[in-house]
Symmetry: C2
Subunit: 328 residues, 2 copies
């Protein structure tokens, strides 16, 4: 008799089932919360596994260290962390791993911590036959609680930047023949590789949100990051907040040299590893924030309805048929 | 040219080198500490990798889940945690893993949390070609700070129990031919398997330490757990505290049916995974604690000298020549 495997049940169902073992279903949000008298603590854990999330061909260990930290702090930011305390690092490495590789990894880790705050609090290293880096990051919950389930109908959907670049950077680094019909200019190539190898975060968002808030009673906002792609981020918000997202295709910012065509739309919307924040705000707040902060783009709105995504321009709805990347 | 690998440099040197990347060398203690206005937080991370730390032949997933939690909480206790807040769980699993395995693992995890406190705060699951379970556990630092570097010359060395049983349980479960010349009785066999598969913790130690403390000024004590074996624990304390341990062989408690012979001494002193606490106390405190708590054994004392271990009975010093198990 065939017994049910993780491959059979798929990633989504796996997450659902694991969630049932947890008292508050925290696996569904970006971070876990540890309640504390003064400062609530945000905790996030992310693992990167060789040949699943990275390989030696596409990223050097220094960049990998940077990226591992950034992907964790991104989750803290998307929960409203006002300060990163630090990280613990758990490594699994084959015995044949060169010390140079480990040293470079730690250099990248410390470089990212220097830039975005936090220290290495501890770690361990085990032997295994496949490299894996598991980082647990700790942040302090700020005044604004950003949560996936806090978007409300009528709110504007915003994002902190352009998507797809990291995916393109990955394709270039993998030397994959991703499209014979386009020739990319040098600027876009180098920008994409940078986005893939050294993604940046935007910690100022929280400050700017507080600056532009007119109603001090609002303490909770809908937010997540686009680490699994822009569509996945919006879908996660829609499902957790039980509302429908309407996107304005024309307003979604793209790099000026981004090629046209279905393939490129896919890279844009499903690419992942962009670490932009995707969130929603009441109209007035959204207006004030976009006026203050030129890196913020309004791309649509939430409305009452079944959790789903639609475009204002109906002809674009075929884009939504593509299934996001699955790990299992 | 051969480049230096982790195998070349060995586990100890690897830990030393990784420690240099951290501001306070926290990798050398059992837990990392997060300072907080009211409650300092203790954080510990431990990874179990298939075929390095466990395999399907020797331990079932339910016991593995139990043990993964216990090994983490043991580190919290050995730092003086007064309460376990919870854990995050990061799994790496091959796509062919049966859902039943994951379910059983979580049942074991929740069983241990029910027994020793704490909830699942969150987690994630990645694909990989080798199973790995990485748990990060959070506890609240109690009044007594237990640290590896706080043993002092003149203090008595104590431990919460008998060693070697877990190693024997592992050998029995592996069906390895560990000694042709002894026949083990049924009681010892079943007790050893239980120690290996469902190790227990002794959270009452902290309470009993507080009860028997006469000098309230003492807030820091030397302590670690024997997860890497009794000798390794004493050596870690001696090195971190810069003093010499003198052990009284006759006082070290053994199971009454524990076989005699060099091999069995090795299993006893180097076995590991016993999760007993090993610590040191001023004479009077040690006396009062052993009187109150019949599970506590005085096994020696610390004195001024180069970090090292010696037996009062010199003929036993040959036991110390054996090299502890290394992962790299």
């Amino acid at each position: 008799m065939h017994k049910e495997t993780l491959e059979d049940i798929g990633e989504k169902e796996l997450i659902n089932r694991l969630g049932k073992f947890m008292p508050s279903n925290q696996i569904l949000d970006d971070c876990a919360l540890i309640k504390n008298r003064n400062n609530d603590l945000l905790v996030n854990n992310d693992s990167l596994v060789e040949n699943i999330h990275f390989n030696d061909l596409t990223i050097c260990p220094k960049d990998l260290g940077w990226k591992a930290v950034v992907s964790n702090i991104s989750d803290l930011l998307s929960s409203g962390s006002k300060e990163t305390i630090g990280i613990t690092i758990s490594l699994i490495l084959p015995a044949k791993t060169e010390w140079f590789w480990v040293e470079e990894l730690y250099k990248g880790i410390n470089k990212a911590l220097k830039k975005y705050g936090g220290i290495i609090l501890g770690g361990d290293c085990s032997k295994g036959n496949q490299k894996a880096i598991s980082i647990t990051a700790f942040g302090i919950q700020g005044e604004l609680e950003l949560r996936r389930n806090a978007c409300r109908p009528g709110e504007i959907i915003l994002t902190t930047g352009i998507h797809g670049l990291s995916k393109l950077g990955f394709l270039i680094q993998s030397k994959m023949n991703f499209d014979n019909n386009v020739s990319l200019n040098e600027r876009l190539i180098s920008k994409s590789i940078k986005h893939f190898c050294r993604p940046k975060l935007y910690p100022n968002l929280i400050k700017n949100l507080l600056k532009t808030r007119s109603n001090k009673k609002i303490k909770k906002l809908g937010c997540t990051d686009s680490s699994d792609g822009l569509f996945q981020a919006i879908q996660d918000l829609a499902i957790a907040s039980k509302c429908k997202a309407i996107l304005n295709y024309e307003k979604i910012p793209k790099d000026k040299d981004w090629p046209k065509g279905d393939k490129w739309e896919n890279y844009y919307f499903f690419g992942g590893e962009d670490y932009e924040l995707v969130f929603s705000l009441p109209k007035k707040w959204a207006y004030n924030l976009s006026k203050l902060d030129k890196n913020i783009y309004e791309i649509g709105y939430f409305t009452i309805g079944e959790p789903s995504i639609e475009f204002t321009n109906k002809s674009k709805n075929q884009l939504l048929k593509n299934v996001p990347f699955k790990h299992f």
